[in-house]
């Protein structure tokens, strides 16, 4: 199977979990208008504060692996949501649905993760889903 990167702009699954907060504003790092779906193989998971980080190889159109990194929620919140340090392991093929970093790097804020068994779970995104209101 040729893994590809999908940019999804419509019909995103609605997370039913309680939103997680970041230790900073979502808008400080990510762009809520740039949604992305990444399908790839997990290479590493950092289960640390203030956010977990999931690293994955995503194959481009030529089949070359591209290294991406995605931020999840804080370990504490994810633990209360049923996650654990071993929920994702190296080699797991997953789909991450999230938002791109503003700096253009291969970095995302993960909203949903689809596990190898097909379950899609909230990954603790801090996106408040609302644009800032200015007077």
């Amino acid at each position: 199977m040729n893994w590809k990167i999908f940019a999804a702009f419509a019909g995103l699954a609605v997370a039913t979990a309680q939103p997680a907060s970041a230790h900073h504003s979502f808008a400080a790092e990510f762009d809520s208008s740039k949604q992305v779906t990444l399908q790839g193989s997990v290479t590493k998971v950092e289960w640390q504060n203030p956010h977990i980080w999931v690293y994955l190889d995503v194959k481009d159109a030529q089949g070359n692996p591209q290294a991406w990194q995605c931020e999840g929620g804080p370990p504490n919140t994810l633990t209360r949501n049923g996650w654990g340090p071993n929920s994702l392991k190296s080699g797991d093929v997953i789909v991450i649905d999230g938002f791109l970093a503003k700096d253009g790097s291969k970095t995302c804020n993960a909203r949903m993760v689809k596990f190898p068994d097909g379950r899609s779970v909230f990954a603790g995104s801090s996106n408040p889903d609302t644009a800032p209101k200015k007077p």
């Binding site: 939103p19 504003s25 400080a28 203030p50 030529q62 649905d97 909230f122």
Partner: protein, 251 residues
């Protein structure tokens, strides 16, 4: 609709139909009964509490009533209009959230209480704040991130009055401003064993023309224990430059 295109990457617009599996913190029924009291007869607020996440204090939400239109002064409105988190949100550097933003987090808060003290234990970044409730007046210390708090009883309501803030924090995640003239009044009451009714009044004559209030409900979570939250542990977004460090305060 714009399609994201990157060199060497096939970008395809798809409609996600993934069925989200609820993995969130489930609704719980808190224990029932009357509000507990300390040996001296005061309402006892001790416990681990679930709070609503309030990233924007102008919005209503579950267990949260905000104020839609904040009564800004010209200075306050200018501060709000020019704020851009991408130019440096102090919390991205793991600096203290301050009082309102700490209470606004969805992370739990434990309260420990004696006749002399009321103690906030915030899971967010493992911060704490100690409030004397033995009748002493405010101190005269230097301005701080969480301010100088004292508490007094108004019947069965504990009223926590806080002044002497530095002006380096924001009221909420979205960035509503305040000044060094910020004065907070937090009122805690416990209508029953399982709930706290919380009211916070924001007064700041430099930023707002009049005081304004949020009201919330906190829910007792006897099934939760507080956990460590070390913000500095792996703050790679700052280290790798995607988050800008905050500007140092003006001398």
């Amino acid at each position: 609709m714009k399609t994201l295109l990157r060199s060497g990457i096939v970008a395809v617009v798809i409609a996600m139909t993934v069925q989200a599996v609820a993995a969130g913190q489930q609704e719980v029924k808190p224990p029932t009964g009357p509000a507990p009291r300390t040996a001296s007869g005061k309402v006892d607020f001790s416990g681990v509490w679930q709070k609503p996440y309030v990233p924007d204090m102008t919005k209503d939400g579950k267990d949260q009533k905000g104020l839609a239109d904040l009564p800004f002064t010209p200075w306050g409105e200018a501060e709000w209009k020019k704020y851009d988190a991408a130019e440096g949100d102090y919390t991205g550097a793991c600096l203290p959230f301050g009082m309102t933003r700490s209470v606004n987090t969805p992370e739990p808060m434990q309260i420990i209480q004696s006749d002399k003290y009321f103690v906030f234990l915030f899971e967010q970044n493992s911060w704490f704040h100690v409030v004397p409730i033995d009748g002493r007046p405010h101190g005269n210390g230097i301005p701080t991130w969480f301010g100088d708090s004292v508490g007094r009883w108004d019947g069965d309501t504990l009223v926590i009055d806080t002044v002497n803030f530095n002006s380096r924090t924001r009221l909420d995640t979205i960035g509503h401003p305040h000044s060094e003239q910020l004065h907070l009044v937090q009122r805690f009451s416990r209508p029953d064993l399982g709930h706290i009714r919380y009211e916070i009044t924001v007064e700041d004559p430099k930023t707002f023309t009049k005081s304004w209030t949020n009201t919330r409900t906190f829910t007792l979570r006897p099934d939760w224990e507080m956990m460590e939250y070390s913000c500095e542990e792996n703050n790679k977004s700052l280290w790798e430059g995607r988050i800008k460090p905050p500007k140092p305060p003006k001398p």
